[in-house]
């Protein structure tokens, strides 16, 4: 199937196969698709054996950082006598990203199964799925599926008759982007402000409630049952460019594009064909101008650069940006980049947790300068200030929120400086005149 559009023939629907099918939410239907076979199998395996399969598959974190999942799991010291925790990061709040929402609202059991396998693989008996508070519908779908799974003995004490305990619970957020940062997420579950923690200690040593913890993204965990069912080699074979990037990946596409939505393609898919064939190209009469390919925190690139990219972790890096969360934000030639970047900066200023000076003050200052430029009150010195400020906001704080504010802004100015200069000198380039009310 596919949602909101039918799957394109060139897509490889693994995770998205049942998007749009309300029946797929039901436990019985899900089992008829082969659901929970992988969990049954996993519960009979040694945790390290599961880790090995996932390591061999090449699966990397789908939340943004791209850390190898099996390796991350292997950091958990099994048999240390402490309670271990798995946290599923379903705080999906990165502008441009809306894939986890679809996984949860259409295929809740896929995630539950992934969570249960993941928990067992790290020696945890409890998994918390931290879902952003705005996602009332995914929360309701997940809660209902969890109730079904619990009633069917799939999770809980003696999960699937294995004698093992695997509990999975939803924990609802309450409006804070930063809770998608893994240590902030743990603080939030603990009932604290969602402040990122200083590392070390790393979560695998002292995480949720001070216990060894692993945090995985929704898409990452949802992929795990497929890997166990079909084998690491099958997953690894889904690779058309860099051997370090394997499997299928959901890309959320939004902004100025003919067919926004989620697309699942094999790693290494040519971005140009993705944009024009799968996504239908720009809206009628417009041209693509700029793209932020991995959620709003990664550098912006021009369409000319984007057309060269192979869609995997290494492919995006090669063009100075990142695959990130796979949230592809597209701006067409009617958009004012200064206005869009000012708005993005405002997002980060709004979401800064307020701990680190550079982030708390820097994101707000950056926003004010950009908004002043957009209002026609900018100076050329402002651009220098932005770059120095961005330098000050990069690599100096507890988490990377302030880096994430700086990256799209500086890359945007580097690539679209003429638009900023036009605003500063009082001339609007014809390409942005359409954006109107600046």
């Amino acid at each position: 199937m596919g949602y909101p559009h039918k799957s394109h023939p060139r897509e490889t629907p693994v995770l998205s196969k049942h998007f749009g099918d309300p029946k797929a939410r039901e436990l019985e239907t899900w089992k008829s698709f082969g659901g929970y076979r992988a969990l049954q199998q996993a519960l009979a395996m040694e945790p390290t054996a599961i880790q090995d399969v996932v390591k061999a598959s090449g699966l990397r974190g789908r939340g943004g950082a791209g850390f190898p999942t099996g390796l991350k799991w292997s950091f958990m010291k099994l048999g240390d006598g402490k309670p271990h925790y798995l946290c599923c990061n379903a705080d999906e709040s990165e502008p441009g990203t809306f894939k986890d929402r679809e996984i949860m609202r259409w295929t809740p059991h896929a995630l539950i199964e992934g969570c249960a396998i993941g928990a067992h693989a790290i020696g945890a008996e409890t998994c918390f799925i931290y879902i952003r508070g705005e996602f009332s519908e995914p929360i309701a779908v997940m809660e209902r599926a969890l109730a079904e799974a619990r009633a069917a003995g799939i999770i809980g004490k003696n999960a699937m008759g294995s004698g093992k305990t695997v509990d999975v619970w939803v924990h609802k957020g309450a409006g804070a982007y930063i809770c998608g940062e893994e240590t902030a997420l743990m603080n939030s579950i603990e009932g604290k402000r969602g402040n990122p923690r200083i590392k070390p200690p790393f979560p695998a040593v002292a995480g949720l409630f001070g216990m060894p913890t692993t945090i995985n993204n929704v898409e990452t965990l949802a992929a795990v049952p497929h890997i166990l069912n079909n084998g690491a080699e099958w997953y690894k074979a889904m690779c058309t460019a860099s051997p370090k990037s394997t499997g299928s990946k959901l890309f959320s596409v939004c902004g100025n594009v003919a067919r926004p939505g989620n697309y699942e393609v094999v790693m290494g898919f040519p971005f140009k064909e993705f944009l024009y064939d799968l996504c239908g190209g720009p809206p009628p009469g417009r041209k693509f101008k700029a793209i932020i390919p991995g959620g709003s925190s990664v550098p912006v690139i021009t369409i000319e650069e984007a057309e060269q990219v192979k869609m995997d972790y290494e492919g995006f890096l090669e063009y100075g940006t990142m695959l990130g969360s796979g949230g592809v934000i597209i701006f067409d030639d009617a958009q004012s980049m200064p206005r869009q970047l000012a708005r993005l900066a405002r997002f980060y200023a709004h979401e800064s947790c307020a701990q680190c000076t550079q982030c708390r003050e820097g994101t707000a200052w950056m926003t004010k300068i950009l908004e002043r430029i957009v209002a026609g009150q900018g100076t050329f010195e402002d651009l220098d200030t932005i770059f120095e400020l961005a330098e000050n906001m990069t690599g100096k704080t507890i988490c990377v929120l302030s880096d994430s504010c700086a990256a799209p802004v500086t890359s945007g100015i580097q690539r679209f400086r003429h638009e900023f200069e036009a605003l500063i000198s009082g001339k609007r380039s014809s390409s942005v005149a359409v954006a109107g009310a600046l």
Binding site: R193, E351, A354, E388, N392, G395, K396
Partner: protein, 512 residues
């Protein structure tokens, strides 16, 4: 078990510190101050101000030195260009919304934002946007909050959480809208809450008591000991023009760490009282010192003396009083004990007197009715005791009354001799705290009129009474005391120094 030592180089200086030490603390050992705001040695690490960033060779990013532990062979640069640039950036950001109202800010002159900006900050600001504004808020207790000056270092929040165990403060809101908040109905009423004022590195948390009273640079600072309870918190007495303006805590990790309770710190006005005894007097007539000492000696010689001493007199005064008259009685005002739960063995003590332990070690008896059983023929010697609760009629039973004190008590209507002495801020000496720690305090201001240090007056008096005590300094009195009184054996004024020493009596449980 001691931690193994780790060797590293900080600013070119080799230093060895126990494993687990932070770079910031190791730098102190090397004699290098890493600028910082949120870090405080008495509080848990927050790592949020990012001011203490240093460059560590082979580390990809600058390291927050407060939250980074030392590694063998590390080479740390505190003043490299990269580190300086980063800190300059932090300073600029801390000032963009700051009102820059130093001329009317109480913190001015002792402000770390001023100091580090002066040392490492930019000469100008590139900030051209409107500044945020939040109104001043009364936090209750002695604390006022000026949010516009706040740098969100969270020292105050951490103090209330981790030391006071009273989570009365929080960081509220987020981003650049964040400020320190408290619940509407709950003020900073914790008996140690005013420490947040000391901990605040900027002018955001201010003492209402001290508000607009003095500029920091006008104050003279003297190492002292809080006289207001038996804990003996180390203090700095700050004076201007011979007037005590405030007490501040002085760090002593053995006694009070970095802290001072509210009651202790705010109870300083008595040191400035104007209604003092300032002249030696005999039968209500001004006398010179020699006459007065002789008159007192004549009255006491051979008589049955009832000595009533203030339990906050110095060890030296109590020792000389004992030499002159034999040990007397003390009374000790008591109040509710108020611990600082996050610190070990630190409390506002029930005994609201500085030296009851010293007095008791020397044989003074703690009584509640100091004149009980006073004989008609007795000579009453009042040693800086206020005789609260004692009637003039009871005093009048004495054959004669000698007042050696800062004031003549109301109950003493017709003293035969008055010998005016300095109060604790006007002289030097030692107190013994409730754990038996002997601690020195120094003279912070001049005594009024002809008042003399207690040890000076009492040494003369003891000598006149046939108990030679020829000493020219408080230290000499103490050294004599240490020889004479077993509980103080082995101590000397010099070794007690400014951090104090535990006396033999503390461990032996000795009572003279």
């Amino acid at each position: 078990m001691t931690a193994p030592m780790v060797n590293l180089t900080i600013e070119g200086r080799a230093v060895a510190v126990p494993a687990g030490t932070t770079i910031l603390e190791a730098a102190k050992v090397a004699g290098v101050l890493v600028p910082h705001y949120c870090y405080h040695p008495g509080l848990p690490v927050a790592g949020v101000c990012r001011m203490c960033l240093v460059e560590v060779e082979k580390m990809p990013k600058l390291a927050p030195s407060c939250a980074t532990t030392v590694g063998e062979g590390q080479v740390v640069h505190v003043y490299s260009e990269k580190a300086l640039e980063a800190r300059k950036g932090v300073l600029e950001l801390l000032l963009i919304n700051h009102p820059l109202d130093c001329p009317i800010c109480d913190q001015s002159g002792e402000c770390e934002l001023q100091d580090y900006t002066f040392a490492e900050g930019r000469a100008d600001s590139r900030y051209r946007e409107p500044k945020r504004f939040n109104p001043v808020e009364d936090f209750g207790g002695d604390v006022m909050y000026v949010p516009n000056r706040c740098i969100l270092c969270t020292r105050c929040v951490r103090f209330m959480d981790d030391l006071a165990h009273d989570e009365a403060l929080c960081v509220q809101e987020r981003g650049d809208r964040a400020s320190i908040g408290k619940a509407t109905e709950k003020d900073l009423t914790h008996p140690w809450a005013a420490n947040v004022v000391d901990l605040c590195p900027v002018g955001a948390l201010l003492s209402k008591d001290f508000l607009n009273k003095a500029r920091a640079w006008e104050l003279d600072r003297t190492a002292s000991v809080c006289p207001n309870c038996a804990q003996g918190c180390n203090t700095i007495v700050e004076t201007r023009d011979n007037v005590v303006m405030r007490f501040k805590p002085r760090t002593n990790t053995e006694v009070n760490q970095y802290f001072l309770c509210d009651e202790g710190r705010l109870d300083y006005r008595w040191l400035n009282r104007a209604d003092r005894a300032t002249q030696p007097m005999i039968d209500g007539v001004l006398a010179d010192w020699e006459e007065a000492i002789h008159a007192a000696a004549r009255l006491a010689k051979g008589a049955t003396v009832r000595l009533v001493a203030n339990a906050s007199l110095s060890n030296e005064a109590l020792y000389l009083l004992k030499r002159a008259f034999g040990p007397g009685v003390i009374t000790v005002r008591t109040g509710a004990e108020a611990p600082l739960p996050g610190a070990s063995d630190l409390a506002l003590r029930a005994d609201r007197a500085a030296n009851a332990t010293g007095a008791e070690w020397m044989g003074y008896r703690r009584v509640s009715a100091p004149l009980e059983g006073l004989g008609a023929g007795d000579v009453l010697v009042i040693a800086d005791h206020d005789l609260t609760g004692v009637s003039a009629e009871a005093v009048s039973r004495a054959k004669a009354v000698i007042v050696i004190g800062t004031q003549v008590p109301a109950a003493v209507t017709a003293p035969n001799v008055v010998l005016p002495i300095a109060n604790m801020a006007e002289e030097e000496g030692t107190f013994t705290n409730l754990r038996g720690r002997v601690q020195r305090f120094l003279q912070a201001k001049a005594a009024p009129g002809m008042a003399r240090p207690s040890w000076f007056v009492l040494a003369d008096l003891a000598t006149q009474l046939g108990q030679p005590a020829v000493h020219f300094t408080a230290g000499a009195v103490f050294d004599a005391l240490a020889k004479a009184e077993g509980a103080f054996a082995g101590l000397s004024y010099d070794t007690v120094a400014l951090k104090g020493k535990l006396a033999a009596g503390a461990t032996a449980g000795a009572r003279a």
